[in-house]
Amino acid sequence: MVTKTANGGVPVRALQARARLFDPNDKRYIGILFITPVQLLLITMLIFPFGLEFFVALTEWQPTYGTSIWHAVGTVFSGDTELGLNYYYLVTDEPRFLEALGRTLAISVLSLCLEFVIGLGLATIFLKTFWGKRIWFTALLTPMMIMPVVVGYTWFMLFQYSGPVNQVLGWIGGTSAGADLQWLNNGVLAFFAVVITEVWHWTPLFFLILLSGLNAVPENPVRAATVLGASNWRIFWTVIMPNMRGVIIIAFVIRGMEVIKLFDEIYILTRGGPGTATETMSLYLYKLGFQDFRLAYAGSAGFIVLVITVVMINMMLKPIRYELLEKR
């Protein structure tokens, strides 16, 4: 502590005017100033409805009851109603929900695996040079730039009974008549029609991510393995793929979160039909909420899906958590 100063050791603070409560020139406020509008928007548009939905989902309220949503929220705290019945029904007594859940997972797993394999194959091809590489690159990326609704309509037309898909399959089969496949009206075929559309739409993203991943694989370990006598196949699995682990997981996570929410394409292709053959979680929720107006019930189902998604995504991220978070 310096005491022998020009003013005789009186603390400097005491010599100054009392600090103002709000100083507009204080740089600390700039950050807060910038972030506040977005925060307000997020709180009103996202966090508040989320909280509201959480409470409503505990009740069995629907708008058609004629009571207000605030009344429903009130019952949660007043104890006038039994809470959490929706969750109980959904899990024990609602096969349509469980089927939609299983279907969503099936579509997700199947499309992601196909997208991964095709995307990786294409990316591997693009490591070499060949004629028209630039044009092919642009062409291959185009599908993911198209709006899902447009993709849905495109494939809706392609999959018509007298449409191009059947016609081409007919030619392949050696007839001029076209194949006799009810793509959108047969449950099994409709399921695959959805998968094909989804794979066509989003393989480019996998292709792009995996291509950048392949290019980022350090060259020298690959060369070292070559000199040690490893075959290309072995190098691919023992050197290249382990180096791509992070990229692959990120690709699966991004696509996984998207594909669980898949809605537009199915809505246009089949509306979830025939029957419920292609009804995924988001279609089911849409029907619950906006056709049957069972908002609380749909909310409960939504929360179940949210929990499953969060757990699954975290499990997928687990192998690279350390790299992402702990490594300097």
Partner: protein, 363 residues
């Protein structure tokens, strides 16, 4: 001559317009350490890659044990390459790294374990076997990279700038380590470096390259003391060889090189068949010159312009005519800035080069 392990025959590599390696021919004996020395971009690494098989030569041939290996894929040439950045497989632990080459060869588990243990002991890695490369220091990584190659028992071990990523202290240690490896395994080693000290201290023979051309290939001793051309003279040695331009002539009977009235007497033996009046360059190693008496007939005079003591030695900068010479003398030698000194070059080590081509006149 012992067995010739590796032979390059007019090896040439062109990248479009650029000639990376220009008709290079040399032979390396079994059990020998050969250094490929040159400034960066001179084609050393390209040569290495061609020997390993990662790069195909434009023309010429590579013989290992007398057999051309051009048609042999890299993995089957049985040569080992250690990369400058080690290129250790970072996702595998040390044991897996060491095993890799043997697993590729489909060796039995028990044999793999035995060989890996042997190499790990040899390279002092036995306690690091279960570590991941990220947990290791640079010199350990280096040893993993060497071990991974050594375990496959290659005919030739090629090292690409093995010490350049290490700190000075580690570098000395690793240099000793490399010498030990060479001595104990009797490996034929080819060593790429841009560091002349490394080359001089490790290699039996040095191939000096510049712009894709082989400038000199000889024993380390000869490359240093008897450079074939001015490039080799200037690239090796610190301070490098001194060069004085001048005209060759005779002062009375003794052959001299004259520059602006200053003359440097040169030994008759080094002059050979140089004709009077030819433009020549006199090359003298800084440590091959000594101070002499003023009347010494083999000495010339120069004025000291700088004195830099460096511990036991002192570097003197002296001017003769328009050229500066550096000479290394014992500290304590009587020389001060501005003084005129007589310098007597070692007759054996003085070299005369053709001024136009920089090539040494051979006696």
């Amino acid at each position: 001559m012992a067995n010739i392990k590796l032979e390059l025959v007019e090896l040439r590599k062109e990248f479009g317009e650029l000639i990376a390696v220009d008709d290079m021919s040399l032979a390396c004996e079994e059990g020998e350490t050969m250094a490929l020395l040159g400034p960066s971009g001179c084609g050393k690494s390209t040569t290495l890659n061609m020997i390993v098989g990662l790069e195909a030569p434009t023309s010429g041939d590579i013989l290992i044990d007398g057999q051309s290996v051009l048609q042999v894929p890299p993995g089957q040439r049985n040569v080992g390459l250690v990369f400058q950045d080690y290129a250790v497989f970072t996702h595998m632990n040390v044991r897996r790294n060491l095993e890799y080459g043997l697993r590729v060869r489909g060796m039995a588990r028990a044999d793999i374990d035995r060989e890996v243990a042997k190499v790990a002991t040899f390279l002092h890695l036995e306690h690091q076997l279960d570590y991941k490369p990220l947990e290791l220091g640079a010199s350990e990584l280096q040893r993993v990279a060497i071990g991974r190659t050594l375990v496959t028992n290659p005919e030739i071990l090629l090292l690409d700038e093995p010490l350049s990523n290490l700190e000075a202290e580690m570098r000395n240690q690793m240099r000793r380590e490399l010498r030990r490896i060479q001595a104990e395994t009797g490996q034929t080693i080819i060593y790429v470096t841009h560091d002349q000290i490394e080359a001089l201290s490790l290699a039996h023979r040095i191939a000096v390259m510049d712009f894709g051309q082989l400038k000199q290939y000889d024993t380390a001793h000869n490359v240093y003391h008897y450079p074939d051309n001015t490039f080799v003279g200037s690239f090796l040695g610190n301070p490098p060889m001194n060069f004085v331009h001048g005209q060759f002539g005779h002062d009375g009977n003794r052959p001299v090189v004259a520059q602006n009235g200053s003359i440097i007497p040169v030994p008759a033996a080094s002059a050979g068949a140089v004709s009077d009046g030819a433009d020549v360059i006199v090359g003298m190693r800084p440590e091959s010159m000594m101070l002499a008496e003023a009347d010494d007939p083999e000495a010339f005079t120069a004025s000291v312009i700088a004195v830099e003591p460096q511990g036991p030695e002192t570097v003197l900068t002296a001017r003769i005519g328009q050229s500066d010479l550096k000479l290394v003398v014992e500290t304590g030698t009587q020389a001060h800035e501005g003084a005129e000194i007589a310098i007597r070059p070692d007759a054996e080590l003085l070299a005369l080069f053709d001024a136009a081509s920089g090539v040494r006149f051979k006696a």
